[in-house]
């Protein structure tokens, strides 16, 4: 049955009206948030106490702690280093499909080493692996691996590839530390952790692996950056909600009713000039706490950055960059990394190396079909008759009829 658009007409009309009302509400509250930021930007002891209390009252609240003295700090970097090396990795996957011809999953990692100022084409590589052995496919309870598990494996491979390439690049330079090497990942730097608190072994392994890679990068003076495009985070807004709230009134209920809900930090930083970053913050999250513990004191920090080249709020492209604490403490190194990332965002408003790493890693539907055609041949050679489920077959038939 096709989508009967006529039945949706009244709903779409109502949706448009609701969006207009919501927009008006958001604009009003956004103006209020900006007023608080402009009027009360100082990071006082009282504010830090409030942040600590809010954290204590609601551990799941995604707040942050400012690392500077003001919430509205800005740092503009004027020039890019003439030579810098940017390394990026990205991954994609084919998840197990129980309706498919075989149970397997596939990971593909794309990497690029881009040497700014060299005039040379960057080095690119892809590393595909198919996982089909029982130990790879099934967990201890005999269930097929979940998408969360596969995503974590993909993340590990991306980070590991990044570290290996970055170390090789530093070694190729004879250990010369003067050329900045920046290792870029698409998304937050900290790995996603499964729920389960301290007891979860998988989470412990993930953080242990992550901390080890961060340590290796630090040893080679390579700057890891997690690049979050169009961030939906509201860390600074969570701080602003506390500014006017008396300490004693901070409890779970008042925190849940925060007046800047559904806004994002991006609106606070639309005035950042080109190649200008906000102040630095560190996210108050369980993962960051545990990373700090494992790493011996390092915490992941972040800042908002305008990667546009053109001035004006209408051209502003606010992204969030995440980096280890040891980079946040070294302003000169952070400036070099920021300038290199900003430079690499020209001309598309997004790091070229991340776009290319994604392109290299991407497994298209056509490529998946080609891979499965290879698999069919191999199965036939080994006396197996590949079969999809009746459901998959019917979906294929009904899908193609509609397109036809």
């Amino acid at each position: 049955m096709a989508l009967e658009l006529n039945k949706l007409t009244p709903q779409v009309e109502a949706m448009g009206q609701a969006m207009a009302v919501r927009q008006e509400d958001l604009q009003g509250r956004a103006a209020e948030a900006l007023r608080v930021l402009n009027d009360r930007p100082e990071v006082t002891d009282e504010l830090l106490d409030k942040i600590a209390r809010a954290r204590k009252m609601d551990a799941w609240r995604r707040g942050a702690t400012p690392l500077g003295k003001r919430l509205d700090e800005q740092c503009r970097v004027m020039n890019a280093q003439p030579s810098a090396t940017l390394i990026a990795a990205d991954g994609s996957q084919i998840y197990p499909d129980r309706h498919g011809i075989a149970t397997y999953y596939l990971l593909n990692t794309g990497t690029i080493v881009f040497r700014t100022g060299s005039g040379q084409a960057p080095s690119t590589e892809t590393a595909p692996t198919v996982f089909f052995e029982d130990a790879e496919l099934f967990d201890s309870e005999g269930q097929v691996r979940t998408s969360d598990y596969i995503d974590a494996q993909r993340g590990r491979r991306e980070l590991e590839a990044l570290v290996l390439l970055a170390e090789a690049e530093r070694e190729a330079a004879g250990g010369d530390m003067s050329v900045p090497i920046i290792a870029l990942l698409d998304g937050p730097l900290l790995p996603w952790l499964p729920p389960g608190g301290e007891d979860n072994q998988i989470a412990r392994d993930e953080l242990g692996f992550f901390a080890e890679q961060m340590w290796r990068l630090r040893a080679a003076r390579i700057v890891p950056i997690g690049y979050v495009d169009r961030p939906g985070s509201a860390f600074v807004l969570r701080i602003l909600e506390l500014v006017d709230l008396p300490l004693e009134r901070i409890d779970r209920e008042t925190l849940r009713q925060g007046r800047f809900r559904r806004l994002t930090d991006r609106l606070l930083f639309q005035e950042l000039g080109p190649n200008t970053r906000s102040g630095l913050f560190t996210a108050n999250s369980n993962a960051n706490d545990r990373y700090e513990q494992i790493s011996g004191g390092d915490r992941i920090a972040f800042a908002y950055l305008n990667v546009s080249r053109r001035p004006g709020t209408q051209n502003c492209i606010v992204v969030r960059i995440e980096l280890p604490g040891w980079v946040a403490e070294n302003a000169a190194l952070l400036d070099l990394a920021q300038a290199a990332v900003h430079d690499n965002c020209e001309p598309a408003g997004y790091p070229y190396v991340l776009a290319r790493a994604h392109e290299l890693a991407l497994v298209t539907q056509q490529e998946r079909s080609d891979f499965e055609a290879m698999l069919v041949q191999s199965m036939l050679k080994n006396g197996l008759l590949p079969e999809t489920s009746f459901k998959a077959e019917n979906k294929r038939l009904t899908g193609s009829r509609r397109r036809g």
């Binding site: 084409a121 776009a355 392109e359």
Partner: protein
């Protein structure tokens, strides 16, 4: 045409009369350009079987990514080289089959089989160009080509054949090829005149 054989790319699809090759980048250095319009190339099979062809079209595909870069005004040398050398979009090279070789002999007629998928296609060295063009029967094949720009291809490939010869033999070859064409195009003097003008220029 350059000195030694260079791999142009690998066969994407083929038929008895033409084949299409995918290659990764345009090479232009030290007087050598690969792939080059009008160049003689070959696919080597087992047992000494060779299919010869002339490059008649080179297409550089685009995609949304490169269109975005062009529209946004890319000027980074590294990005430009990346797009030229490393992108996964192949350069498409169309080749007109002009003859084949077997047992050390060259035949100016269609081969028994086309090249196979992913066969490497390499340029022919000057000695091989001289050997292939020693007789003029291949000119008829090119003149009859329907999908290729036959006249321009003929001019480019005859000029390459001339340049492959020692300087004291070049004029003699040019004249001999012109005479052959005069015979083939005796009923189409306008076309003949156009080709000869380009051969002389």
């Amino acid at each position: 045409m350059g000195q030694g054989p260079v791999q142009v790319g690998r066969v994407l699809r083929s038929s008895t009369t033409a084949f299409t090759v995918g290659c990764r980048q345009l090479i232009s250095q030290q007087g050598q350009r690969v792939p080059e319009f009008g160049a003689l190339v070959k696919a080597e099979h087992d047992h000494g079987h060779v299919v010869y062809g002339l490059i008649y079209n080179v297409t550089i595909e685009d995609d949304a990514f490169v269109r975005q870069l062009v529209a946004a005004g890319v000027d980074s040398a590294e990005v430009i080289e990346d797009q030229r050398q490393r992108r996964q979009v192949p350069i498409i090279v169309d080749v007109l089959v002009a003859g084949f070789g077997s047992g050390g002999e060259i035949f100016h007629r269609l081969p028994p089989q086309p090249p196979a998928t992913l066969d490497p296609i390499v340029t022919c060295g000057q000695a091989e160009v001289v050997r292939f063009t020693a007789h003029h029967d291949w000119l008829r094949t090119v003149l009859c080509a329907e999908d290729a720009p036959a006249d321009q291809l003929l001019v480019a490939s005859v000029r390459a054949a001339v340049e492959a010869r020692p300087s004291d033999l070049q004029e003699a070859y040019r004249v001999a090829a012109g005479r052959e064409l005069a015979g083939l195009l005796a009923l189409d003097l306008t076309r003949l005149d156009g080709i000869l003008r380009h051969l002389r220029a």
